[in-house]
Amino acid sequence: MSVLVVRDLHVTYPPDLPAVRGLDLTVAGGEIVGVVGESGSGKSALALAVLGLLPPGARVRGSVRLRGAELLGRSDAELARVRGRDLAMVFQNPLSALTPAHPVGDQIAETIRLHAGATRRAARTRAVELLDLVGIPDAPRSARAYPHEFSGGMRQRVMIAMAVANDPVAIVADEPTTALDVTVQAQILGLLRAARDATGAAIVLITHDLGVVAEVADRVVVLYAGREAESGPVRDVYRRPRMPYTIGLLGSLPRLDGARRPAPIPGAPPPAGGPPAPCAFRPRCPVGGPACDVAPPEPVLVGVGHRVACADPAATLDPSRVFPPAPAAPPRPPGDRRPPVLRVTGLVRHFPPRRTRPRGRPVRAVDGVTLEVRAGETLGLVGESGCGKTTVLMEILRLDRPQHGRITVLGRDTATLTASHRRALRRDLQVVFQDPLSSLDPRMRVRAILAQPLRTHRVARAAVPGRVAELLDLVGLEPALADRYPGALSSGQRQRVAIARALALEPRLVLLDEPVASLDVSVQAQIMDLLQDLQARLGLAYVFVSHDLAVVRRMADRVAVMYNGRIVEQGAVGAVYGSPAHPYTRALLDAVPVPDPSARDRADGRQRTLRGDPPDPSAPVAGCRFRPRCPAFPALDAATRRRCEREEPPALPVVPGTDQDAACHRVPR
């Protein structure tokens, strides 16, 4: 039975920006429908419209029915009786979605008291039960804690407890796992599934991540520019996508198995409001014909429950022919013949405890890291948030004496550099940050941003304009963009500017801190291609920091896996991804949602997920740091267990003669 039915929904933001342009959506009880889209596709507007929480000024028309009752056009007071009881929502950012001033137990109890009319005491008791149900340890005590005392994953569990508190008939989850680490994401997805099983609620799961949808959803709706591009059972859509956009989106995803180089969709998703063309995807579509310019395509059935909004579904019968396969990445000579450009040995960086916290312990952000990058090579650095990845980069960038250990950049020990040498060395070492919107000065034109490093390093004044034009061309930007401000560029263009800025002084080593994490999937693939092409042309070496293992698989030659300030495993990507030796690497790889619904049957998701939260770097663990979360530890023999409890495992070759190292007592030597 259809619980939630959306018909011909239109949402327009002021002044006149259509965000959703005629959307149909039907969700049955106990069903999880994934709604996938890139930025500007209207997926968040859909969620807010369903709950009646659109900002003032937004106009909405169409129909949203919950168990047959129309929700649109009802007053705030009437909707308040439905929200939280029949219709619940889980928001994206658990860090800001809970009120900081109230204990979490009271926040859950509030919704129970509002709708069930329970007494304060009964509601509190129920809140504790719910916290226990969603896997919060020591629920009675945790109920009295404030949101800031919880980790991100725990806060999202609280949000889910709040959502299921009144046994809703439908739950809308807007990017519920986007802000979380991959191991925690797997836990939360498992919890959502459990919530569905327990309440029989219809769940709308809104996400940008095709892997997440493949992992938990029954049906999928792909949104593009506020309209449905394709929808159907997850298996059919993933196996036989028929809309060129879906084909491109699935094709541009980096894969953990690294089977092929993905082919990116050209261009960027249209901004909110969309292009005037009848088919919004027309400007980026490789198979479009004259039929596409006549009228907006109506969804047509191409299989059981599988609809596609394409004017020419016949052209996409063979998905592999829509986007021609990209040429393979140019081969590079093996690493050991090239000189190292960066060598880090035993690097330590501890931060003193905050002064406001008496008896605080130092934060051991980086606690003995050793790694090496050779010319023209990419080293991927992966790990969960707070493991010290970015601190390693910042220590390298400082070009100064580290607290302990040694950093050698291009053969020069940073501890011995004089100020002028350090300045000269900065030319060879550049950085690109995650969010170009905040790392580029919003009040400088692109031209000035690119000229600044040249001026700083006293490049001849006359040569600057020519070099700026060259750089724009290098990263594939129109010369006309030089006069724009970063705010007037798309996110992909901004990241290209950030890359061009880093390349202005012809560096030999570029540090990339999550360079594609804030980009849409289709743009992500373009930027990764650009980085690889630049590397091949300019002989750059990269340190590529990312939390996304599939992206690292695609970009890196070698990979280093970091956990709690140390590298637990490193080696060639093929070897580490193919046969991970450390249980943490294994767990990380297992937690990544694979954009292939048939992989769901491989193993039960909940068994593979790692327990617990990422560790607290200010609380040292005796022996192996991973032991408290290690899935292999309980099954070890007593002698090895004792070693795990007492000795910090050294990084040793897994197989003699290869460069795959792992820091684990379990690995046989």
């Binding site: 929200r83 619940a88 009120t99 404030y146 800031h148 709040m162």
Partner: protein, 319 residues
């Protein structure tokens, strides 16, 4: 929470000591009671002039020792400062406390209301009114209030409010209270209005930030109406930055008091300290500064305590 407040108290105390000492040193170095153009009154004790000739460090030591024992020295007229100080402090406190509380509460309420009705007529009217108030200096405001009161009296034919002077009626307890109110009304309104405008602008901005906050949206998704979600989940967060602001406006309030006392003819601390500066009465200036410093420290402590109560993140830092 206790340790946090103790730490803040220690910091504030050091600050107050430095401020008081600097105030005395500045007054003692700059004011010359025995020289023209401010000739001491005939009754000026020879002791004041004699001590003015001593080295600054010695005078400071003697003064500081006295203050630690509750003795603020003597005025140029030879009277003890302390007695007059406490009398005038009570006058000023009566004037400022009611005005500050009213201004603070009124400003916060108006600010929240303006934010909720953003860009609608109430918001525009409140915004125009507060800008007008901000543009008018306190002494002009006070005089305008007096003129308005005079007009009122003329129109009604009865003296509804007293324009000047301190209460001092002798018609029994009820009469005294009524007379007190009559005298308090105008100056309190002036003090309140001058602070209300600032608080209102600030509270409006903070509330606008909170209106769109994720946790207010979550509260609505739980089934609270928009107004309840804002009051129960938004307002508390919006009040946190206001507590810091409260500490900073304490100094401004004292200055407002000086002007208001002058205009309305109240014999409070403000009037006293202005007269003392003109006469070059070092001990009176220093004593008034002591009181001002302690008042600012107390306001700071009150704001810290309020912040502690409102924001659990201050009480229990994240693990």
């Amino acid at each position: 929470m206790g340790s946090f407040l103790l730490r803040r108290l220690a910091g504030h105390t050091v600050l107050a000591l430095v401020a008081v000492s600097l105030a005395y040193l500045l007054a003692a170095a700059a004011l010359h009671p025995c020289e023209p153009p401010a000739p001491p009154p005939a009754a000026a004790s020879a002791g004041a002039c004699r001590s003015a000739g001593e080295p600054l460090a010695g005078r400071y030591r003697a003064w500081a020792t006295g203050v630690l024992h509750g003795d603020f020295g003597r005025t140029l007229d030879g009277e003890p400062v302390a007695g007059e100080l406490w009398r005038r402090l009570w006058v000023s406190a009566r004037l400022l406390l009611a005005g500050t509380v009213l201004g603070c509460a009124g400003g916060v309420l108006l600010g929240v209301y303006a934010a909720v009705r953003r860009d609608a007529a109430p918001d525009r009217i409140i915004t125009a009114g507060t800008f007008l108030l901000l543009a008018v200096p306190v002494f002009v405001l006070a005089v305008l209030a007096q003129i308005a009161a005079a007009e009122l009296d003329e129109a009604t034919g009865v003296r509804v409010v007293a324009w000047a002077g301190e209460p001092g009626g002798t018609f029994g307890a009820l009469g005294r209270a009524a007379d007190g109110l009559r005298h308090l009304a105008l100056p309190t309104a002036v003090v309140a209005l001058s602070q209300l405008a600032v608080y209102c602008r600030y509270q409006r901005g903070v509330t606008l930030d909170v209106l769109g906050a994720d946790h207010v949206r979550t509260a609505r998704a739980k089934g609270l109406r928009r107004r309840d979600a804002l009051l129960r989940h938004g307002l508390r967060a919006a009040l946190v930055p206001m507590t810091t602001y409260f500490a900073y406006t304490a100094g401004l309030a004292l200055l407002t008091g000086v002007f208001t006392e002058q205009v309305f003819g109240w014999h409070g601390l403000g009037e006293w300290v202005v007269a003392a500066i003109v006469r070059g009465d070092v001990n009176v200036v220093a004593a008034a500064n002591c009181v001002a410093a302690v008042a600012v420290v107390l306001a700071g402590l009150a704001s810290d305590a309020a912040r502690c109560l409102l924001d659990p993140r201050v009480r229990t830092p994240a693990p």
